[in-house]
């Protein structure tokens, strides 16, 4: 439209005059702005927060937008150079610029068919005006303005370059941060000069501290503490050590470096990184460390997994083997029944032992087993020393003890007795029949004899039965049989035996019923506890399970209880009725009433009295029709008679043991007082000689039970006797030599069997050694007799008193034996014979005491005591305290064993041996000193063989 004008040289001059001088200034200004925007964006973005990163990104985009706008505007203006020129003119001559604007308007109007002015004229007018433009002035102005812009832009550019030069690392970090995705910058940087990693192994390894290089793979035990040192490349960076999940900050180590500690809990790739707000800039290197996981100890329990019925065994022997790659700290026995669990420490070790083998005997009278509801799971658990993530337990397979119902064993016992009773009834009926059938009678006799044997055998296997019962049964059998043949006896004798067996069976049933009822009371308490738990909404399910389990136990136990005689029938009915009430409210999920009903039942069963007691008759509130109801005499007092005899016999044993101890004390005191000091040099010579004799024998520490160990024992005993002899303790010295001789005699026997193990000691040499020791022992004996002879002159009064007491005890034993020779005897003939023999020995001892012959009297007393102890029945195991199950029934360490200064475990006494073993096991479960443990372990292992 203004083509002609646009192409005019005047116009071009104007534009060239301005543009030519302003171009470089404008470029420099843009460059400065770009640099400024970049610096601001990078430095703000480096803060790493979402806001600053958004701001930086926005700023860069805004600048880019501006540049594009400028470019577009310039292109648009290039198509209308006249307008630009008018703009340039306005900077130097505003009136002229206005005139140019009007001239342009006039030209434009001519283009819109305004006929008043010709087009050519209008363009001419415009060109003339353009020609009037002072180009020189424009050039001057443009030069001035360009110089100013250049100056400012250059200043800014220099400032920006200065900043960039000093903050170059920050700018690159800012750039990296701006590009970060998911909190991790894409470009790694060199942040830290990393030294070797110090590795501190966990305490359970008990290893030294080491070092590894940071770069490259490594395998370390779980729980190692890694310490990383380094010198940071840049100050004031928040450096961290990260595995991708956890971050550990580096801290100054006061030596110009930084350090961080990292606990290795699992395999990790460790990198050093710098934290900028929410963004991490990683270092290019990383440490790849594989954590070696500490496995729990491996525990093996012999024969497990296995199910065992409690009714079939009296104890469960558990042999276990534990292995751990680092060391075992503790081994526990775990018992679990339902929701209950009990852990018992079997052994505590020092954490260095890598293999351990042990054994434990779990008695079926154990309180947990007895009071368990349902089956009991038994297993062994062991832990090592690694406590990094709690105790590191390994466990064995499970032995499951299947419980028969509560009262099952008692019912079996009662049934055995009942079978015998029924057999005796058959015999009695046949015996008293008007027309006896000899064949029938013979058959019944045979059957009864067999039944006696079966019942006795049943009691042998039944640990809950009183030993006294076996004695009683033997006595009753002896009334009817002599050996395998029936005796001649009257119907009265047979009826007495029958009634005695009957009364005893009922008495046992009554006691068992009381015991079972009390245990069912515990079950009811369990139901009550379960109901309380169920009342809490969080533990409802657990409570329901507890109630249901215990209810099943109660139901079966009540059914068994009902079979235990009259009292059992009564209490069983109560228990069954109680179960019915509990079940009714349990089905309705009324746990409050479950709790009430169970609590009442528990209270009732814990007091196992008959439903009705009251002076033997019912109903003072009611009419008593006639007289009677109750006060019926007992048909047989056999059960009470048995109790009385047992009590009397045990009392006799205790009192006589006390007498033996008393006489030993008297004799010992007298001997000590009478030993002549002049003997000391001679005694020392004998002692030295004795020591020399046993010098060649091996020391302690051999395998227990071997000839070598027995020889070592003999050596110890001889040395102990020599020590006593030097101190003029003649009694101890003599006793020590006696024991030594016994040990050497045993060794002599053993040597034949394992001579290969002790080639240095020939049997002949041992015999000679014993002979030489006998010389010394005889000398001690002679000195002892002399001393006693002197001392007893001053103790005659004491001995006479002891004689009186002994005579009284002899009379008591004699009277007891005489009483037990009658028809209602509960002691068998052999026991009665022993009792009579003991009475005679005691009488002889009393006579010797009267004569002042104390040592001889003591021998007689000891022989009598042995007889008494052999015959005295053990107390009822059921009457023992629960603690006795664990072998701690110290209260029952009766005086009869104390008389001889300690109980030697007889190999034939299974129960005592097991008690002893249990005690040893308990002792071993205590914390032990590491330096002692091998010796103790060897001892225990030998014991268990």
């Amino acid at each position: 439209m203004l083509g002609g004008v646009n192409a005019s040289p005047e116009l071009s001059d104007i534009l060239v005059a301005w543009r030519g001088r302003m171009r470089s200034a404008a470029q420099r200004a843009w460059l400065a702005a770009a640099l400024g925007v970049f610096l601001v964006a990078m430095l703000s973005g480096r803060q790493g927060t979402a806001a600053t990163r958004l701001f930086a990104a926005g700023l860069l985009l805004a600048f880019l937008g501006c540049a594009l706008g400028q470019w577009w505007w310039r292109r648009r203006r290039a198509r209308h150079p006249l307008g630009e020129a008018i703009g340039i003119v306005r900077k130097v001559d505003q009136p002229l610029a206005k005139r140019l604007r009007r001239a342009v308007g006039l030209v434009e109007r001519t283009h819109s068919h305004d006929e008043r002015v010709s087009r050519e004229l209008a363009e001419l007018h415009l060109q003339r005006l353009l020609a009037q433009v002072p180009v020189a002035l424009i050039e001057s102005r443009a030069t001035t303005q360009a110089a100013r812009v250049k100056c400012v832009a250059t200043g800014l550019l220099l400032a920006g370059l200065g900043v960039a030069a000093t903050q170059g690392a920050s700018l690159s970090e800012g750039f990296d941060v701006l590009l970060a995705r998911h909190g991790m910058a894409p470009l790694s940087m060199q942040l830290l000069e990393i030294g070797p990693i110090l590795v501190q192994p966990p305490a359970y390894l008990q290893a030294e501290t080491g070092a590894i290089e940071f770069e490259g793979p490594a395998s370390l035990p779980q729980g190692c503490l890694l310490t990383i040192h380094g010198v940071p490349r840049q100050e004031d960076r928040r450096l961290v050590l990260t595995d991708g999940q956890r971050e550990v900050p580096f801290v100054h180590d006061a030596q110009g470096g930084v350090t961080a500690q990292y606990l290795l809990q699992q395999s990790a790739r460790l990198r050093v990184a710098a934290r900028f707000g929410q963004v991490l800039i990683p270092q290019d290197t990383e440490a790849s460390i594989e954590a070696i996981i500490d496995r729990p100890p491996e525990v093996e329990l012999d024969s497990a997994p296995k199910r065992v019925s409690i009714a079939e065994i009296s104890e469960l022997e558990l042999r276990y083997h534990v292995a751990d790659e680092h060391g075992i700290r503790q081994v526990d026995l775990v018992l679990r029944s339902g929701t209950r669990e009990e852990r018992r420490s079997l052994v505590r070790l020092d954490g260095k032992v890598q293999r351990h083998t042990g054994a434990h005997v779990l008695g079926m009278t154990d309180s947990f087993v007895v009071n368990g509801f349902g089956s009991v799971d038994v297993f062994v658990a062991a832990r090592d020393d690694n406590n990094l993530s709690g105790a590191n337990w390994g466990q064995s397979a499970v032995m499951t003890l299947d419980q028969p119902s509560l009262g099952h064993s008692q019912v079996q016992r009662y049934r055995r007795f009942d079978r015998l009773r029924r057999q005796l009834v058959d015999w009695f009926a046949s015996f008293t029949a008007v027309e006896r059938n000899p064949a029938d009678l013979q058959r019944i006799q045979g059957e009864t004899r067999v039944t006696f044997a079966e019942v006795a055998a049943g009691f042998e296997a039944d640990k809950g039965a009183k030993r006294a019962l076996s004695t009683f049964l033997r006595a009753q059998r002896n009334k009817l049989f002599r050996g395998e043949q029936p005796r001649e006896f009257s119907a009265k004798t047979l009826s007495e035996v029958l009634l005695s067996v009957d009364a005893t069976a009922e008495a046992i049933a009554r006691r068992d019923a009381e015991q079972v009822a009390r245990r069912l009371a515990d079950v009811a308490v369990e139901i009550e506890t379960g109901a309380k738990t169920a009342l809490s909404s969080e533990q409802r399910d657990e409570g329901v399970v507890r109630v249901r389990t215990a209810m099943a136990w109660l139901a079966s136990g009540a059914a068994e209880l009902k079979q235990l005689g009259t009292l059992g029938d009564d209490l069983g009915e109560i228990a069954q009725a109680g179960w019915g009430r509990i079940n009714k409210v349990f089905v309705a999920r009324d746990f409050e009433n479950v709790r009430r009903a169970a609590a009442f039942l528990a209270e009732r069963l814990r007091r196992p009295m008959p439903s009705f007691v009251g002076g033997g008759r019912a109903g003072v509130e009611s009419r008593s029709v006639g007289r009677g109801q109750g006060n019926r005499p007992r048909a047989s007092e056999a059960d009470q008679h048995l109790e009385r005899v047992i009590v009397e016999l045990q009392q006799l044993v205790r009192e006589h043991a006390s007498e033996v101890a008393s006489l030993e004390r008297v004799l010992g005191d007298a001997e000590r007082a009478a030993v002549n000091e002049d003997l000391r040099p001679e005694a020392r010579r004998h002692a030295d000689a004795m020591r020399r004799l046993v010098e060649a024998l091996p020391p302690l520490g051999a395998e227990p039970g071997s000839a070598r160990a027995t020889l070592a024992l003999g050596k110890e005993l001889v040395q102990g006797a020599a020590e006593s002899l030097e101190q003029l303790r003649l009694v101890d010295a003599h006793a020590g030599l006696q024991k030594a001789d016994a040990a050497l005699a045993e060794a002599e026997l053993l040597l034949g069997a394992d001579h290969a193990l002790t080639p240095a000691m020939e049997p002949n040499a041992l015999a000679e050694l014993r002979q030489r020791l006998t010389v010394h022992r005889d000398w001690v004996r002679r000195m002892l007799d002399t001393a006693r002879g002197n001392s007893l002159k001053g103790s005659r009064d004491q001995l006479r008193l002891a004689g009186d007491r002994e005579r009284e005890l002899s009379d008591r034993a004699g009277r007891l034996a005489q009483r037990e020779s009658k028809g209602d005897a509960v002691l068998p003939e052999d026991m009665r014979g022993d009792l009579e023999q003991a009475s005679r020995l005691m009488r002889r001892a009393s006579e010797l005491l009267d004569q002042g012959r104390g040592p001889l009297a003591l021998d007689q007393q000891r022989n009598a005591q042995k007889l008494l102890e052999r015959e005295a029945p053990e107390p009822d195991p059921q009457q023992r305290s629960p603690a006795s199950d664990g072998g701690r029934d110290d209260s029952n360490a009766d005086a009869r064993h104390s008389a001889r200064g300690g109980k030697v475990v007889s190999t034939s006494d299974t129960e005592s041996r097991e008690d002893f073993r249990r005690r040893v096991q308990q002792g071993l479960s205590k914390e032990v000193q590491p330096d002692l443990s091998p010796a103790v372990r060897r001892y225990a292992e030998g014991l268990l063989k």
Binding site: A429, T432, V434, R607, G614, S622, G626, Q629, N631
Partner: protein, 554 residues
Amino acid sequence: MSRFRGARVCAWFGLMVTLSDCRHHVEPTPIPSEAGGSVERLMAADRSLVELDVQRARDLLDKIPLGGHDVDRLRARLAVMVGDCQGAALLLSSHAQTESPSAASESNSLPLVADPERQSYPMANPRELQSVAEGCARAMAGAEVDIDAERGVWVRFQNAHDRVLLPLIAEVADRAATAIGKDLGALLPRPLRIELVSDLASLAAVTGLPLEAAETTGTIAIARWGKVTLVSPRATPEGFPWQDTLAHELAHLIISRQSADAAPLWLQEGLAKREETRWRQAMPLDETDEWHREAKQALLENRAIGIDRLGASIALLPTPQAAETAYAEVRDFLDYWIHQNGELALKLLLRDLAGLGAEGTERALVSVSGYRLDEWIARWQGSLMQEEQSESTRPSKNDRTTELVRAERPGWDIDAARRLRLAELLEGQRYHLAMAEQLASFSQVSTLPSELAHRAAFAQLMLGQLPSARDYVQPERIDHLDGTWLAIRGRVLAAMGDAAGAETAFLQSLAFAPTLEKVACRGFSAAEFEPPTAGPIPPGSEPWGSLCRAATAP
């Protein structure tokens, strides 16, 4: 004595007037009007509970707008009486937590309303009530309740196995309550509530009676809290006369209702003892006047308890012998008193006591009979002494009874005990001949322990020796009645063709031990038939079939 003649004439006149309008029930206290205060309603509710009118008490309590300790205690008492022990326990436990001990003891001792012009009743001891509610809630949680709507009898069975006894209990309770009510002039409101518990421990828990006391005296049932709590016949090995016991306890409730719980203990127990057998047909050995002999012997031997020295309860006496003597004394004393004053005087005395309260016993006695209690006791003791003096000059009419009273279990010695046990063992294995031989030595003994007699009879029965068996089931041969003996007697009589006598004996045996096998199965033992069929019981003859099946169930 002449100075009381005028009073006695007046009393008799009053008695005639009163009894002419006797309607055999207690007049209820009018319900206070709506305008009446809560205190009056509370008073009326309390009295209603004393008179066992639970429905009226409930209505009154429902009309009291506000709660409070007194109201809640009455509600709790009401709940215990109707068997809602759990509710009562909850109600009382909420107060127990907020109530101070001093407040509790205060409410124990103070009457409900301190208005001397009005009759007031002490509230039940809240702690005791709470203890009873809790004990009852625990003992009876989950227990089965059966109701005989026709007879109006509510029974709660602690042992569900006892539910088979419901028809028997309902019938006996209904008959006894009706008969005794008519006798004493007051009917019990229905339903009659009976708790049948398994044992003494439960009896103690449900009633609040100390267990030691129950065990010492052999208490077998208690009438308290408006209901009868009875130990199941199953609880004792040979059973006990539970029907008479139930009647005895129902008599207590009736007396309490009739006298507004103001009757003194001697009157309560004497009257209950007197009524316990009067409601039914006579049974063997009913005629013995052993209580009279025992009372006299106790007086002569200076071991009498004393009519006015019975303490809080006979169940709390120190020994069962003391309790028995006390029962004999009160029973004989009351017989004497009635003999002197007549039956109507007794009814008048009860009505007078209801008006006068527990403190007015002396006034009531004087107004009805002309003498104070101590004077009556002196007169009664005087008559006993006089009787003894006259008897000492001539032979006793009833030597057997005297012998029974003085001897402890006649016929029992160690030989008898041994033979009995042998017989039991032989019977268990069906050696009836040997059993009979064991007991043969007792055939000539005049009075036998009934346990021996019924086993001897059974052995003879099994051997087909009916005449010998009959000899052992004559009432004069035994020292006391026993359920099994009665059942065997029934079987012997049935075998001899005396169907009516047999039926009577069978029914009488149920009064002692309905859960024993020989009683429930009409003289048969389970070994003679195959349980669980009811063996000898023909189909449809209930309750025998159910009883026999229950008794022989494994």
